[in-house]
Amino acid sequence: MDDNNFKDRFCIVGLGMTEVGHLPGCTPRMMEVEAGRLALADAGLQPEDIDAAIQGESDPGGGVRPRFDDAFPRMLGLPVKVYFTVGRGGEVATLALLAATQLLNLGIAKYVMIAGARNDWSRTQKIRQTGRRGQVFMEKEGVWGRPFGAVTAASFHGLLATRHMEEYGTTSRQLGAIAVAERQWACLNPQAYMYGKPMTIEDHQNSPIVVAPYHLLDICLQSDGATAFIVTTAERAKNLRKPPLHIMGIGFGEHMGKLWWEKKNYTNLAVEAAKKDAFRMAGIELKDIDVAELYDCFTAEVMLQLEDYGWCKKGEGGPFVEAGHIGPGGDVPVNTGGGLLSSHHLGNLTCVAEAIIQLRGEGGARQVKDAEIALATGHGGEIVSGQMCSIHSSLLLRR
């Protein structure tokens, strides 16, 4: 497929988001159904219009069989021809959109629903009842570091922060500036978990060290919730309830190919290839981006992406974020809903949903003026001996 065959041919026409945060007693499938119902209403479509569905799931299968005992399209009554699950850690949305556009391209489907849910907050509460502390992640079998006490994502992701600090003199205070900027955005977003809870850099520095070098406020939230999108062709998108958002480009990068000998993937993410393909398809440059929704499981991931995409030079992310570029009023608005750090964590469904809200002009107090083009990214993968085989995704949308 040459570039012009992809750009602007497919559109996101529906967005459905449940409440996010704490939804005790609500299963992931029930949340997906609710997000799907809201997406249909948002697009002005009926269940019978949807002829394909994709589930975005961090841990597809989780073994040799799908781990859910039901599927949201059945529960919603969608007469789909095809349904399947995609995802790799935090990267779910752009892989699902890639598949959706191909179903549309081949004429297999006319309207595709994507939905994904997490109940990480509720799962965490259950683990706490067993006398353990916090995160669900530690329950996972098969990760190399477990007997060594590397039982949470922070143990692995923190290696990136330490390395960046070592190579470029980055400080915890500079990482904290990212958390503070995202909290400022969250305080403008009534849907955000941290709405109404402002924080200062001193709050960040005074928050307990959970896994050095990370303080508590460098670490993303655990959330219950679901988000759904509906995707169709540009032609069909013209007559729906909401203005269509065009997919301009999609790209992916992968770190596993150079894991064992390059040793450079501790101060960057796999942005290079992802950026190159997405921006080539879209025919735009970095300066054309009005809002950037960057996957932010931890603060350093944001800093690495600011450098890897080229908003600042490698190693200069610290001074860049301290200068106030990424918060409200800055020239590079990043994670305008509060991100995974301060709004909610549904993998990169969080990032794509906020991009949609901004491009539609539905951002309320946090709306970035005249936002026309958004970048949304994703990240996730396997952890091998402390090293991450990680995907990076770039999604470019325009209104």
């Binding site: 006490g149 402390g386 090293q387």
Partner: protein, 140 residues
């Protein structure tokens, strides 16, 4: 003392590695054809490989390297680590080249730094496994 921490995952294709740890031999994945070293399992990237990595073997390595990066959990997410926090989890850049992750013990967190020379020591747990850990290199 009973082991109250998570046990390692030992897939069948890693059994030989863990058997070597029990024998206090620090082995890495090594190419018989071109002498390249890897960790963990990988095809040799320098040339074509035999079926099921037949050109590769577990071979004893020096067990020395330098700290490449590290984190230090201060919260015991698993109760087995309650008495040890804060402890150090590090990526070690081994002299043979590969990166290997484990605990660095016998080193105060305030003295921990990237570049610190370290060497392997073995922690015998039970009949099933021995953990390879690292400590600051002892001058001999």
């Amino acid at each position: 003392m009973t082991w109250n921490k998570p046990r390692p995952n030992i897939p069948e294709d890693m059994q030989d590695f863990w058997d070597n740890m029990k024998a206090h031999k620090f082995v890495l994945w090594h190419c018989k054809v071109c002498d390249a070293w890897y960790w963990p399992l990988a095809c040799c990237r320098n040339h074509a490989n035999e079926a099921y990595m037949g050109n590769m073997e577990w071979k004893e390595a020096k067990g020395r390297g330098k700290v490449f990066s590290f984190t230090a959990p201060h919260w015991a997410f698993h109760p087995g680590f309650k008495e040890e926090v804060p402890y150090i989890y590090a990526m070690i850049e081994l002299e043979e080249g590969p990166l290997f992750s484990s605990n660095v013990i016998g080193c105060d967190l305030s003295e921990m730094k990237v570049g610190l020379p370290v060497e392997v020591i073995f922690e015998d747990v039970d009949n099933e496994f021995t953990l390879p850990k690292f400590r600051p290199l002892q001058e001999s």
